[in-house]
Subunit: 193 residues, 2 copies
């Protein structure tokens, strides 16, 4: 998606270790007008699919999922990372290894919000090693619900998550995919490449 | 706000220890159409005020802040709770004691996103003992930015946070305020009470 790619080039910064910082517009400070356009693009890419719930994981996926949900007219569920007094009763859990934080964590979704007839679209800001997506997909499977697809803002194509998830036959739509060329420079993958 | 009060009565559950669960529509599963109405109401209540940024704290404030920000046409900044590889450089920090989680945590905002000429509206889902709000206000003060006010979805009027923050002269707008009557039953405070 050209709008997002241009914004990454303008305001993103690349750091050693394959880290891309987009904290000025996506995941610390959020440019709501940009995110609105990303939401519209997810709606365009998943148009015609039956979707009853959007699932994301706290924290930085929540805003994007909520803005996008306005175009799907469905509720958002965000998987929780912290154990909380507010989260009790029957819950689905899955274990996720975080690349960004360098530690494992548990994600949790109350069973009452996912039914076997739900058609779930996962939305998140980043896809790198794919562990968060796999955890969310695991929860959808535990609920015997239907996974419609995954909408990702920025995929790091030079990490293994995207290829693995596509190999499962999942409809994974990433609005910008960043590859690394032979000189270690980050480049955008062309659509349909 | 009648729409929110009716929804709390319909779908909220009250538990011992003053805990109100609204996880079916506000802070685990999110009813985006309802939250859109809450966003509009915040816009109405802070109409005419100069606002340049909305500040919230992860996780459950983010979606509400993002939806509301569409009516203010300003970016959202969410304070982070977790130490992250993605958050480096100069940061403002403040320590917050959590009622819900029963532990202290640090909130962080990159200094580059808050300037002294910023006019900041804080938005969050809940106000109970007020510690999260006070932490966010502390960060705004550290940045020498201007606090415009606080927009809260649900205030627990029977806890001390709201009275304390109003005593500081802060324009605190809570869309539903829950008090406890002499029988320990939760009741809504009338507006302008």
């Amino acid at each position: 998606m050209e709008l997002l790619e241009k914004r990454i080039l303008k305001d993103g910064t690349f750091k050693d270790g394959g880290i891309l910082k987009v904290d000025s517009f996506l995941n610390h400070q959020m440019d709501i007008e940009l995110i609105n356009e990303l939401g519209k693009e997810f709606a365009r890419r998943f148009a015609g699919k039956k979707i009853t719930k959007i699932l994301t994981v706290e924290a930085s996926g929540i805003g994007i999922a909520c803005i996008a949900a306005q175009y799907f007219h469905v509720p958002v569920i965000f998987a929780k990372k912290a154990q909380s007094k507010n989260l009790d009763g029957d819950i689905y859990t899955s274990s996720v290894m975080s690349f960004t934080h360098g530690q494992e964590y548990i994600i949790r979704v109350s069973k009452k919000f996912l039914e076997s007839d739900d058609c779930v679209l996962i939305i998140d800001d980043f896809l790198a090693n794919g562990k968060a997506l796999i955890g969310l997909m695991d929860i959808i499977e535990q609920a015997s619900a239907n996974l419609v697809g995954c909408g990702i803002c920025i995929e790091k194509g030079f990490q293994e998550g995207g290829a693995y998830i596509r190999s499962l036959g999942v409809d994974l739509q990433s609005l910008a995919i960043i590859d690394m060329d032979e000189n270690g420079k980050m480049v955008f993958r062309k659509e349909n490449e």
